[in-house]
Each structure stands twice: as C-alpha cells, then as structure tokens.
C-alpha cells in the first residue's frame, strides 16, 4: 500500500506525518494523531459530526482523503480552546445549552466556527443555512442556533473591549 509523507498546518502548527493513500482525514486525525475530538457519526457524509475546517471552510473529514489535504490548514475542535479558556463559539454552546449528549457538538462547533470566520454577525437564517449539513438528535436545534448567535454577540463584545 502506497504511503506518503503528509505535511499539514494542523491547529495552527506544522504537522508532519505518514498517511496511506486510502486513509480518510477522519481516521488520520483520530487513529494516527490521537485527536479524538472529531467524531465519527454516520460515516457517510449525512450527519456532519466529523466536520473540520480546511483553509477555514467546513468539510466532512469522513469523506476527505488525508493525502489530498497536503499543505493545507486543518483546524479541528481541539484548536478552539486557548490554554483551557473556551473560545467564543464554545462559550456560546456552554452558556446557551447548545449541547446535550454531545456527540454532534464538535461538528456543530466547527461548522459554526467556519460560519463566524467568514460572517461574524450572521442572521438566524444564515445560521440555519450554515448548519444545514449537521444533524443533532437531542436539542431540536433551537438552543444551537441561540448558541451561535450568542457566540457572535460575545465576539462583538470582545472586539469593543479590545
């Protein structure tokens, strides 16, 4: 089986490793790099639990071949907290009860993070559209949408404070 060197910028840092051609990004993150924050859900592109950011855009790591990410910036849920301090989107989910069982939460966090990076002040419709690829079977989505909106407000506060 062909294997090749794989250089990523993972969560802001250069990351060199070796991946087989048929290895999915999801398996590379979880099994090789032991970053188990990214979750395996449906394993077929239907649920969004495995969402990570590649060059700031949300993609499904369960359908992405690891070797095709060479040279790209990959951000997983582990990138969000800064030395134990929750990021805005994490605080949003925490304070507005956006997580229940939590299995879908890493995917929702990254899809939301992707949205806030390109649109820091999204409307409710824009939040709903951006989270269309993700499924949550607990919350009924209402609290998740509130959480993302709250995170946008937190970002605004941080900006005015700074």
């Amino acid at each position: 089986m062909a294997k090749r060197l794989l250089r990523l910028v993972l969560n802001g840092r250069p990351q060199d490793g070796v991946a087989a051609d048929n290895m999915l990004l999801l398996d590379y993150l979880r099994e090789v790099l032991a970053l188990t924050g990214t979750k395996t859900g449906c394993d077929g592109g239907e649920c969004g639990a495995c969402t990570v950011l590649i060059d700031d855009k949300p993609v499904l790591s369960c359908l992405t071949l690891a070797v095709t990410c060479a040279g790209k910036r990959v951000d997983t849920v582990e990138a969000l907290a800064d030395d134990g301090r929750l990021s805005a989107i994490q605080r949003g989910f925490h304070e507005k009860l956006g997580a229940q069982c939590g299995a879908c939460t890493p995917g929702f966090l990254m899809a939301s993070e992707g949205l806030l990076r390109r649109n820091p002040d999204p409307s409710e419709d824009e939040i709903r559209d951006a989270l269309g690829s993700n499924i949550c079977r607990c919350t009924g989505y209402v609290k998740i949408i509130e959480a993302v909106r709250h995170a946008a407000d937190l970002l605004k506060q941080q900006e005015t404070a700074a």
Binding site: N22, L24, G45, K57, L60, A111, D129, S133
Partner: protein, 338 residues
Amino acid sequence: MDALPEFEVVRPTTVEDVVAARAAHPGSRLVGGGTDLVVNIRRGIEAPPALIDMTGVDELKTIDADADAITVGASVTLAELAEHPDVRAHYPAIAAAAGEIAGPTHRVMGTVGGNICLDTRCIFYNQSDWWRGSNNHCLKTTGEMCHVAPKSKGVCFATFSGDLAPAFLLFDGEVELAGPSGRRSLPLTELYIGYSRQDGSTGDGKTYMSLEPDEFVLRVRARNAPGLVSGYDKMRIRRSIEYPVAGAGVALRRDGDTLADLRVAITGTNPRPVRLDGTEALCGGPLDDRVTDGLDELVRDQIMAMKTTFTPGHYRRRVAGVLARRLMQRLWDEAATS
C-alpha cells in the same frame, strides 16, 4: 460502513497529466469532493485501483460568465458556482441549482464535474454490500435482474438526480471533454443517454453517459438568450441535504402578455435529466390554462419515474409537474414587474 479498499491517489496539476494518469491507471476514477464516490467506494459498490484527484488542476477552477455565455471548469466547487455574482445575475437557474445541492458543507467539497457526472441512484443500488448481496445484487452492479422492473430485460432504471444538468440544459448546455483521442464538445442532450428503452437501443440507468473510455469532463458551457429569465426549484424529503424527489428548471421570455420562449428541464425522475420536448408549441400567447395544461401533458408523456426511491414514482412525477408549473408562473409574474 466498510473500511476503504486499497487504492492509489494520483494528484495531477494539468489536464495533460490527468489524461496521462488515466492511461497509466486502467480502471481509475476521477474524484473531486468525494461526497458521492467515496461513499460508493465504502459501500463496496466500486473498487477503483486508483483515484485521480481533480482538485489540484487549477485550469479547471475558473468561472467565466457574462450576459451572453457561461463556462465553468469541472473542478469549481458547487459553493463557488452558487455564490458567483455574474452567475447569480445572468443565470439564476444555475446559481440556484448549485446552491440547492446537498448541504453547505457538501457544497464546499463537491465539484461541478462531479455533479454533472453524478452516478445514477436507486434504493437497490445505494446500499451496503451485505444489503445488496442478500438481494442477489442488481443490474447496475453484478446482478442479473432489475428489482425495480423485474421484466425490464436487462434495462436499468436507476435515476439521475444531479441538479446542475437540468439548469444547464435550459441554456442549451454542452460539455468540453478530454480523452485519449483528444478533445471534443458534446451537447448535454447527447451526453445523457439514459432513455432505458426496452429494445436496448440507447443507454439506461447503468450506462447513463456517452463518454468514451477514459474520457472526462473539462468544462460545462451554456449560452444565454436576450430577455430570458430563469429559476430552479426542487423538493426533498429532508430539505437541508437530501437528493431531490424531483427538481425542475424553467427559463422563459415574456414579451408584454405573450409567452415568447419556454424551456423546462426536469431531474430526479428519469435515468437522465430531461429537457422537455414540445414547449415551443405552448408559446405565442398569454400564460393561460392552455399552457399549464399543455405543460402537464408534456410532463406526463416524458417524465417516467420508477420506484427507485422511497417515494413512489407517480408522486415524483406529480411533484416534477407542480414544481415546473409554479416556477413558470412565478417567473412569468416577476417578468411583468421587472
């Protein structure tokens, strides 16, 4: 799902390299976002020895669109196409179709080439290996019978459900192809051959495109017509992700109270995207009952939805007709005020 079988990934950067890679790797498949192909590989539907990653071919990542014509490279993502300001301004049906494919994350990954060549779908096909095995497989893979139409005599009825094809068909779209014997252009109406005729004289759900071996799509092109307004709409069981129950694109031109041009294309029903024949005969007067009844009749005659999804075929045909009619009415009304 199953673990991925072994394959090699080839990452060309030019079209010439893609042609060479196809020649060097018999049985290879091209992959863009992988949102359909990787799922099929994991389900054991196919096991190509090599995947050729098209996302590094920069010359296929451009969109050229103005009021007269549009050309879109195969490696453009669906999100890029949906958000392009010139496409939205001049080809709203194409932008709307791209923006309605799957969910937002899929559109960041999926490419135009992938959606144009999207594999046909069926409830007896898009299943795991053990599911299909317990059913003795089906015509589209290794089986001997079509479970949708057991008396089909070797004809497959899997449904084409790509959304870009009907949108481009409205504008007389064509594809630019490259292969071992060079480049050529082909109208979309000749690319899609899934007529599923009983005498086997045409393609079907299994052989749904007229591509030569190792030939592949470089770009999709289409031409605008002065005064044409267009739109695209589809219905899905789960609105944020699912493949269409049916999708319809409509383009028309309104001159005062006269319907001067009408074009309708349907997807999600037949083994090919269908540009309805006979819409010219409905033009020449106002948009009245004669036109709506005539459109219903064209849909009834040319749309053949078999039981390839969990929703019954007759329902999908009705949905296709209703979507087309509503869209036609909406575009007609909007054209009056603009």
